[in-house]
């Protein structure tokens, strides 16, 4: 059997299983309470195992890329050294945490075991928040460009944005703007958003159906 056929058959069989499970879920015949409740966790476990393999593949990808860069002194090879140092340091801290003496429930680790928590709560969380806060600057620069009036559409967008911003100001001197903003949000924005959501659901069903029935084509299936 060719690789393509194996992929398509696996998708079809798995699709049939989950669609049947979805369709008869909740029937009080006992079918879903017995067979599906036993088999579905097995499928879930298989997915977790495949996911773990994928993480391994991702790590291999990173190691190959950065080790080649260091060995061949490619541009920015110093960054790759920092990556490896960071990777092995955090991994060592994690191992120390999970293999060292465990504190009573609810108590923090002490000594070497605390290093991992320190890295996560004192460094990673703050770095994540910092990166997230960049968004404010990106939004501002994108908004400045988007609000240039170049036609009817951008004019409507700009006027709407001014109304919304004015209405959101803490000390607005135009109370009617707040009402107008609420009306835009409740009527126009909600209607548009729901229309997009309908499209998303129907489009998702279509893609899933094409994939399940094996009528999707492309390099994803044609690998040899």
């Amino acid at each position: 059997m060719s690789k393509e056929r194996i992929i398509r058959t696996t998708i079809l069989v798995a699709g049939i299983y989950f669609i049947v499970e979805f369709l008869i879920k909740g029937i009080s015949s006992g079918v879903d309470n017995g067979f599906f409740k036993k088999v579905t966790p097995v499928f879930t476990d298989v997915l977790i195992v495949i996911g773990l393999f994928a993480i391994g593949i991702g790590l291999v990808n990173i190691f190959m890329l950065h080790s080649h860069r260091i060995i061949r002194f490619r541009p920015n090879w110093e960054h790759s050294i920092v990556l490896f140092v960071g990777f092995f340091t955090v991994m060592t801290f994690a191992v120390l945490k999970w293999t060292g003496p465990q504190p009573p429930p609810g108590q923090p680790h002490v000594g070497a075991g605390n290093l991992f928590d320190y890295v996560v709560t004192k460094i990673l969380v703050h770095m994540n928040s910092t990166i997230y806060s960049f968004l404010a600057f990106f939004v501002t620069s994108a908004a400045l460009r988007a609000f240039r009036v170049r036609g009817l559409e951008s004019a409507v967008m700009m006027v709407s944005a001014v109304i919304v911003l004015s209405a959101m100001a803490p000390e607005t001197s135009f109370p009617f703007l707040a009402q107008f903003r609420e009306w835009m949000d409740a009527k126009i924005n909600t209607a548009v958003f729901r229309a997009l959501t309908f499209g998303m659901i129907l489009g998702g069903i279509t893609v899933a159906m094409r994939m399940w029935l094996g009528i999707e084509r492309g390099a994803m299936f044609e690998a040899t």
Binding site: I19, L23, I24, K25, G26, I27, I50, G51, A54, I55, G56, I57, G58, L59, N61, I62, M64, L65, H68, P75, N76, M127, N128, I131, Y132, F134, L135, F138, V139, S141, A142, A143, R145, A146, F193, L196, T197, F198, G199, M200, L202, G203, G204, I205, T206, V207, A208, M209, R210, M211, L213, I215, E216, R217, G218, A219, M220, E222, A223
Partner: protein, 284 residues
Amino acid sequence: MVLLTAGYFFLSITPDPWLQRVLFFLFGAGLLAYLSYTRRGRQMFMRRIAGLDKIDEAVGRAVEMGRPVFFVPGIGWLADPGTLTAFGLLERAARLCSRYDVRLCVATASPEMVPVMVNIVREAYRAEGKHESFNEDDIRYLPGGQFYFAVAAMGWMRRERIAASLLFGSFFAEALMLSETAQQLGAVQISGTEQPMQIPFLIATCDYVLIVEEYLAAHAYLMREPVHLASIRTQDLLKGVMMLLMVLGVISATLFAVGVIDVNVVERFLEEFHKPLKWFRGGS
């Protein structure tokens, strides 16, 4: 007709919410009908989607500038419809890049996508007879989660001074970071996502945006095979049914509210449709 009848009786033994199952069977019946229609050799019209036609131009611009094309397949799960669509577009981009000898840089936040994307890009290069030009190092897993991925991808974009950016897939808050960075670099940007929340940000920063449904239809648009067109036509049919129900529902509810009619006709129709289903289940 047989399928619809069988579907209706099958629905009768299934629990609520029943509308999902109705849609499922309607889709199956519609797809079969349109497939048989197209297999008789009849043509189906699909309107032009400007953003997809411009992918060729974006790659052409990269050729002129001698800089890479950057592709991100979103940060969604491997089996998301948005991610699966992105794979189809990645194949298209990889074929064009290999044909014109342009470097294609692909960044992903999900390790499970790496082997799939390597496979897709390698096959695309092979199909164009440029297998020796394929460089696996240009398909990179950038770990750490959403924002670390965004920062790493932004850094990569800046170092390579990309000429074109193709952002297709499930995007969240990082969409604006990636697209604004490419905008600052002066890159041609084409994006598409099925996440409605990100559409305004992409419209503000990108040259062309495929909005939700357009994006999910992208692979079918590029393939243009009868089965793909049949699936898109079935999707339109379902949307038409839902829109009709909504319009009739609004009219019926309005007339009922102002006292022109005594019964909300659409509500009654749905109740009557649902009644046998409840009866078959022996439910309330």
